[in-house]
């Protein structure tokens, strides 16, 4: 759990000083609402040894700004216009975030002008012709029951200049961007261009990644829901596997660069015999390769369940030029179908009959509404995003660290991706559960 943290920028940019009394102050006389002090921060590394080392070496502590409502804010709610956009693949909880943004802005701060940009970054670009959507409490009241995003989404970059033109023309004061790695990079560029032009527009990101692979983000929303549903596919694979003599159930799960869903789903339904993830190399052939290990498992137990993250084993496609997807990510080789082929070939070659069932539950998972845990989590993320925006913070994302909501500079979060440490308790627990060997010659 205690991953190493590099020397990173942790200071949050802001549009200017906070001079306006928060409307929360006068909201309810009966509750003494806790405000977060301007300079409240928590430690990034919370081990005693780190603290002591810093003291010894007179090094300053790495810390993050704590999220939450400030007593003084930057924007005047009565004049503020806000924008919301959702980008990239579907992820459970996106509508919860939209709903909570609107409810917090409208009911807590009194902001009445909230607009949705449709179909991702396309929504800022006039030639697509996607109209703005007005977001009111009535419009969003029940959307948390739905999967997907009511704003629509798309993949891929758009011209930063034209995006900022649109923000300027519409006089958007806070732009909330819900999206993954690509969206974070776009958000960073937009906020730079905004500052460069001297506009007064906060850019606040709420990181969305079903893969749970954003650096400095402990757990991304929707991840819990995804893992829960992924176990259903594992159960199906297991049922199919044990019903056949030498039955194999193979499940491909999300995870382009990191195997978090694969690993947690394995721990969530402990019927998996091999978990293959991008972070841990494996060989197919040879005495210690995967195929021989699979043969041994079948020999011993007559069935096997395999979970493979979509980004695992990409070395097998090294000689193919797969191009990039609309988001600009390199296209991955389809490891699921590849394994199906290789497994079938291998067992034909050794004349051992098998029955192989392949399950790819991707869209069934991505399109789910959030479970209760994610409903709650999305609500808190969005509320903290609103507090940050109202205070005039910018170029940041809301995250949770050590169970405390914090502000993280986007630039720090896009340095690298979060991946599974193969020496961690998490991966060791997976290995214990699956009982899989090293799979390397």
């Amino acid at each position: 759990m205690l991953d190493f943290v590099d020397s990173i920028e942790t200071k949050i940019a802001s549009l200017g000083p906070s001079k306006i009394d928060s409307p929360i102050l006068s909201k309810r006389k009966d509750v003494s609402r806790h405000f977060v002090a301007e300079n409240e921060r928590i430690m990034v590394n919370i081990t005693q040894s780190y603290i002591e080392e810093c003291i010894r070496n007179k090094k300053s502590f790495l810390s993050f700004e704590v999220a939450g409502p400030r007593q003084k804010i930057y924007f005047d709610p009565s004049k503020l216009k806000c924008g919301v956009v959702t980008c990239g693949g579907l992820c459970p909880g996106t509508n919860d975030v939209i709903r909570a943004l609107v409810m917090e802005l409208y009911h807590v701060y009194g902001v009445k002008n909230i607009y949705g940009f449709q179909y991702g970054l396309e929504g800022f670009i006039s030639r697509y012709g996607h109209p703005l959507v007005e977001l009111t409490p009535e419009r969003v009241a029940s959307i948390h029951e739905l999967g997907g995003t009511i704003l629509g989404t798309s993949r891929g970059a758009q011209d930063i200049g034209e995006i900022v033109d649109t923000l300027d023309r519409l006089n958007i004061g806070i732009l909330f961007m819900i999206g993954g790695d690509g969206t974070l990079r776009a958000a960073a560029k937009i906020s730079e261009e905004v500052l460069h032009r001297g506009l007064k527009c906060s850019v606040i990101a709420i990181p969305k990644t079903i893969d749970n692979d954003i650096y400095l983000v402990e757990k991304s929303f929707g991840f819990d829901t995804a893992v829960e549903k992924a176990t259903e596919a594992i159960r199906a694979a297991h049922t199919e596997a044990i019903a056949a003599y030498n039955g194999i159930g193979l499940v491909k799960l999300m995870g382009r660069y990191s195997g978090f869903i694969a690993a947690y789903a394995t721990l969530g339904l402990r019927e998996v015999n091999f978990t293959l993830i991008p972070e841990v190399d494996f060989d197919l052939e040879g005495e210690h390769g995967f195929l021989e290990a699979l043969r041994k498992r079948l020999k011993k137990r007559r069935h096997a369940v395999i979970v493979v993250a979509e980004g695992a084993g990409q070395k097998f496609f090294a000689d193919q030029d797969l191009g990039t997807d609309p988001s600009g990510n390199p296209r991955l080789g389809d490891i699921g179908k590849f394994l199906v082929e290789k497994i079938k070939e291998y067992f034909v070659s050794i004349k051992m009959p098998i029955t192989l069932k392949y399950i790819d539950p991707s869209y069934i998972i991505r399109s789910l509404p959030a479970n209760a845990n994610d409903h709650v989590y999305c609500g808190f993320l969005a509320q903290n995003a609103v507090h940050a925006g109202m205070r005039g913070k910018t170029a940041m994302l809301v995250s949770c660290r050590h169970n405390v909501y914090v502000h993280v500079p986007i630039k720090a979060a896009v340095i690298k991706r979060k991946i599974i440490n193969p020496n961690s308790t998490l991966w060791f627990s997976v290995l214990e559960t699956t009982g899989q060997p090293r799979l390397k010659n």
Copy 2:
């Protein structure tokens, strides 16, 4: 619902007369258990016009023997040995049937020797080396909670002679066969060979087909569960479709020869715009073809949901020799992937960007445990199978007609497959719901 019924054989073969008092008679003094009279039958066609026509033309009525416990039975429970086998693909409820067979034989009739043959028909063939499994109430008590089949299964035929040798050697008095079309045909041959050899072995089939396509079987077990789960995939497809501009969600569902799951799932979640089934021909190209209809739909509503049964559009593979699967069925062309290709090609050709998401939930559906409705249904099917077997009936299957459990000669049920009548209320309801045009030039 009132499908036309051909002139079919409806008389049930029997191993001999019933001379033994049913143990049910003495079971509970407080309940006057209803026994079914030996000759109780129900009409196959229940319209008044049919009855009147028969009377007018002095034609005899087509009728089925009613299932249920008989006062006198053929086998002596204390000496009887029974066998159970499950064949073909997984289907929700199979373990319920096994459980209820064992419970009814053991507790109601007092049969103590019940054996499971493992991995389908392979279980009868010595060279596979699959050991017999003893089936006791303890062993089966909780299996209804599990999908799949505790006996394992396999596809494909085995030597009838060797199967009957095994039955003979083990002195099996009743063989319960749970399987689909191929299994029914095997059951017919086994019962023939049994009679030919003068053995005393009843062969009772409990028809299993997730496609719900067995002739004279109103609804096969597991179908309800399958439809319920299939709607989840439709919901996912719909969520993905509306989240994209020109979004398309395509779901492939089971249904090799008949589109029942596709049709009922469409009625079970009314978000489908095109339902394609084997029974209704459609064109891809041309003014009235599917692709142009899809384009129009997108133009109008900017998203579309398509459900395709796996056996639909097989004409597009007419020029390919796909061979047969292990069950001896002709291999189908993969209409799901075919449509994905064709749709993508088409919209590239007309330069209209789309986002297409393809979902194939097959094994997630097949491997489910039964829902409550199927739990109940499987229980009744199995109980009636036991009653039929104890009475010495053979070469028959248990079915439900007009909500009455009946005995149907296997030979009658394998004449042809049950399919959707395109002029039926069912199909018309699907057309109303989808609003799809004719899709034919």
Copy 3:
């Protein structure tokens, strides 16, 4: 399944002859829609012995009119106004019925004026001030996802004269009434008064009863969904029971006069040891009474699960005057709490410590949205209700018999309630599953 059918009225009243071509005729050239002939009927009793007896005795067959679209209809769709009302307790599928009524009227027949009366029969009575609701395809498009009823509901009778005044004033041509026994009686009176006044208003009922206890109605909508969910409560009771030494789990299920939910839920999750229903008397005290049987069960297995229908054991409240509920039904004694008291007292008296957990899932069940099976069923019921109404039929309900949709005169359906025959296969299966003794001294 073959319950005895009395000599009942089976002729359907009609407002007049059908002279207008059905708009379905011209709807789709590609589908030759099957129309139901005016005089198409199916047998009520479908056993061969009944038919032969009728022929022998020259008795006419009891038969029901088959439901479905007629080629000629009574009402001119372009001028027709329709009303919909929902009455009584919540039941899964009610919104499905509303939705399908609207969709069928609007899209298939072209009826544009459809109104919902709010909060049950109160909606017709001006002093309540509940406004009419316009029902359009847009309004109802997604309501099948919701439990309850978008029209609201209430219990209890209202003045028939004022109801008919309202129908007359609003010029309602077809009134669709969704409700239970009380609603059916109201529907009968309304249609009488309508005819008496010479108005042209069809009254078509869609029977709604979660108890599944309406006579001549094979299965009421929502029943499947209710049974499915009821098994969840049984599972909870079982888990609690086995976790304690001498643990008892007691579940109260719906069923005022009939134990269908209790019986099917018992078969749907076979962990119940005692099922108590209104149709089968039982004693509490004494050597063969329930309490002693419970003690024996605990002695043997150390846990017990009990399912009791709310209408069971009402003899224990015979000396109490409980009055009537707003629907005019006699109030039932609370058998659940009564059993809790009696069981606790008994085991205290014999100094045997027990742990008793009581579960009443009533509203959690009633408020569910329909499952897929009920979605489909509700759609067909409503479509057939529309066909009947458009044809000018009145004073009838739509039902399903032998899996065929039929028209049943309301007067025939309210003669008595459908109950479980204690000598039926259904009840015998319950007894086999629970293993419960007679429970009578």
Copy 4:
């Protein structure tokens, strides 16, 4: 989230030095398993201001020992005998904890002798006669699919002396106790007595409380699952409420001393209008009381949903002597039924007709199997409990703080209960969602 932490004991007792090489060392050559250093600790308060204050004032930091595997352990696995016991009410995930304890002990450390004590603390007391249960990997392999506890449970204290006698006689080296507040107190006493007698027996607690109210335990296992299911009851209440004119849905949820389930369920399904918890006082009567607020809500929206934690409003029972339950906790007044009575009385008194539906889902929630998130969490808790026990730690519980698994002295955790801070973001979010006023005169 940053609750104030008192000056508490954070040092963990231990049976003695660790001299034996952990078997993990030699387990897998391919993985360099991360061991936790003996003295690894994390900060209890992680704010920068706290750290700086400590430095300024030369105060030592409050910190917890980090959980996880140690390179050197105390017990020799080949000779060790372990015991497991589960106490108190059911909670999702208990079987997961049992399973993971057994798997970790058996497969990772090679401990072969693991015993379950049945029915809570009764299992140690000979007069109850509950036999020991041998816990093997086979026995526990599938129990995570089941709710409840396979070991059974009971409430209430037993003689500490006799418990320790039993541990001594059976030569138990590590006792794992899964239970709530009462169990923690018992564990503290047992470990004291063990040390006093000079026995070598570690006592490790895994805190179990569905109420999530144990001090210093961030989130107790099963809580997520409970909240998820609780939202189902809220949905039912909402559906019932909106279906009636002046409809009220009232849900009672678990929470004797703290309203965490009520609060999180409110945030998990945002349809609640009043959330009543033990931590926040409210009045019934008077201008600002709950009943008048409820009337205003109905007047405005015609329906209302109320969630009440079972421990809320206990002041209304102050004059009643309710005694204590078998666990020795004071019996609570039944606030659910009390509110039902009071609400009905009030609206009768003001002649405003209402429809009130009351839902108590308690046992349906408690008896659930864990959801995926809790499956994973229970696994980690149990593994860390095993690591702690093998190291010879005692009188401690495993907890999670700032997302790091830690060792907490039981004595520190039983000082007080964890409750909701009415000035916290959590409670403020609930107030925002419900819109409820102060409810105090």
